[in-house]
Each structure stands twice: as C-alpha cells, then as structure tokens.
C-alpha cells in the first residue's frame, strides 16, 4: 500500500483519506485506529458495525483471543489485540488491571481490598473486577500523578 503524507496550508482542514479496492482487514484496522484517535472505536455486535465512543467504555476484556468492549449496558467485539487497544487507550485514562482486562479509570466508583494483596475495582455500573497485584503499582503511579 502506498503511503502519502502531504503538508497542507493552515486554512485547509487536516484529513486522512483512504483509497481502497476492497475493504480488507488491513483497511479496517487503519479505519479503527483513526477513529479511535478521534474518540471512537469501530466494533461489532450481532454482525452489525457500531462506532463506540471511547468515553462510554467501561472496560475491555480478552476472552479466547477475542477482545470485547463493554459499555454500561452493551458489549461489542473489536478486531484488535488487547495490547494494541491498551496502547491506543493509554492516554485516555485506560489502564491494564489484569492479564485479560483494561479498565476505564473514569468509570471506577471505588477500589476495595480483595484477597492476598489484590484490590478490586467497583465500576459505576456495579460490576466488580480484580486488580492483579502486578498492576497495583502502576495504578498508584497514575493516580498519584493527579495529586499536584
């Protein structure tokens, strides 16, 4: 695929244009990436495509090598690896809390102790999930950054 990046005058709007013959997985991935940068993720539910606003996401979970997005009431499947999603959403208040899960810090209502030095996060929709001990230091580091 040929890549063209062109500098344009300040009075013209910036844009990404994709010219394609067929919508392949590769094209779809690029579209998903661009949309995620704009605050939306392309995902499917019951075979239909949806644009899910990142701010509505509660968490993302990897199950049997498939990645699902969860909002307050719906779930969607996204064609991305969890680590790719983690990289993409890192700057948008998302944090890995276990091997198979990343959570939106803005959707956590409270944190409470769980067994063996672990913590659990209670989400604003009432769901509760374990924060592995391994990821607790990173959570502390990010939250401490907001102290100043």
């Amino acid at each position: 695929m040929k890549l063209e990046i062109r500098k344009i005058p300040e009075n013209e709007p910036e844009m990404v244009e994709i010219r394609y013959h067929w919508i392949t997985d590769e094209i779809q991935e690029i579209v998903s990436f661009v949309k995620s940068r704009q605050g939306q993720l392309s995902a499917t539910r019951d075979g239909q495509r949806f644009e899910v606003p990142v701010m509505d996401l509660f968490y993302a979970e990897s199950v049997d090598e498939r990645v699902f997005l969860y909002t307050a009431s719906d779930s969607y499947e996204i064609r991305m690896k969890l680590y790719e999603l983690e990289d993409l959403l890192k700057s948008k208040s998302f944090l890995r809390i276990s091997k198979s899960m990343i959570v939106n810090l803005m959707k956590i209502s409270s944190v409470r102790p769980a067994l063996n030095g672990r913590f659990s996060a209670v989400l604003k929709n009432g769901e509760e999930m374990i924060i592995s001990r391994k990821y607790v230091p990173e959570l502390k580091r990010i939250l401490k950054g907001s102290e100043s």
Binding site: S93, S98, L115, N116, G117, F119, S132, K140
Partner: protein, 154 residues
C-alpha cells in the same frame, strides 16, 4: 519492571515477617503463661519467634502464582499453606526440648495458636489494605475530577 516487582515482593514479605514476629511473640507469652508458667528460658528463646515467622513467611510462596488465581484457588492455596505451617511448627515443637509436648494441651494449644496468628495476620493485612484502598479512592476522585475539568495528568 522486574526489579520493581522484586522490590514490591520484598517489602510485602518484610511486612508479613514483622507482623508475624510480633504476633508469635504475643502468642508465646499467652500460651507460655497458660500452659507452662514455671519454665525458664535462655537467650536462645528470642530466636524462636524469628524462626517461626520465617516459616510462616516462606509458606506464603504457595499463594503466589504467575497466573491470575481465582478466589477459590487462592483459598485452597491459603488452606494448604496453613496446613504446612501447622505441620512445620508442630514438628519443631515435638523435637524441641524446651516445649513440653508431653502435656496433653500443649500440641492442640500450639495448633490453635498458629491458627489464631494466621487469622489475625489476615485480618491485620486486610485493614492495612483497606487503609490503602481509602487512599487510592481519594486519589481516584482527584484524578477523575482533574480529567473532567480537562487539565492534563501524568
């Protein structure tokens, strides 16, 4: 990252060890007064809580895993670690001249004492974690407020 992980692990082990030394010393004072009041010890006796606490700390290795353990799995592993600690302490007691295991209440008393220390340790660690969770919640609220108001964080 690995260095950080080991540092975290060492801090947790030291925290548990210190707590165990304290609780075992208290347990020895209580059990000694109840079961074997007249016995006199040498300075070596000060070593006992340190050794027992080391056994208790090493036994928690069982509750650690590279994989994410389910609550059920964790409880099973905790039970196994308790059994191991009980076994090790009773074995030491049976072989030590300073512990009068010939008296009928000493071994059950010791087993109960170990259980009490085990339970107390978990209760105290829970309260420490709860305090930490309160701190995390305060920081989380600040973080969310700051993100909502649009200022940059981190």
């Amino acid at each position: 990252m690995v260095k950080k992980k080991w540092k975290e692990l060492l801090i947790q082990a030291l925290r548990l060890y210190t707590l165990l030394v304290t609780l075992i010393t208290v347990l020895m004072i209580i059990l000694g007064n109840l079961l074997d009041r007249d016995r006199v010890f040498g300075y070596d006796a000060f070593l006992s809580p340190l050794i027992y606490a080391l056994i208790g700390t090493v036994a928690t290795v069982i509750t650690r895993s590279g994989k994410e353990l389910s609550v059920r799995n964790l409880i099973i592993r905790k039970a196994v670690s308790l059994l191991l600690i009980e076994g090790a302490i009773i074995l030491i007691a049976l072989n030590a001249d300073t512990i009068p295991t010939d008296k009928s209440w000493v071994v059950p008393g010791l087993a109960l004492g170990v259980l009490a220390v085990f339970v107390l340790t978990h209760i105290i660690l829970y309260f420490i974690d709860r305090k930490e969770a309160e701190k995390l919640n305060a920081e989380l609220a600040r973080y969310q407020e700051k993100q909502m108001s649009g200022s940059s964080v981190g």
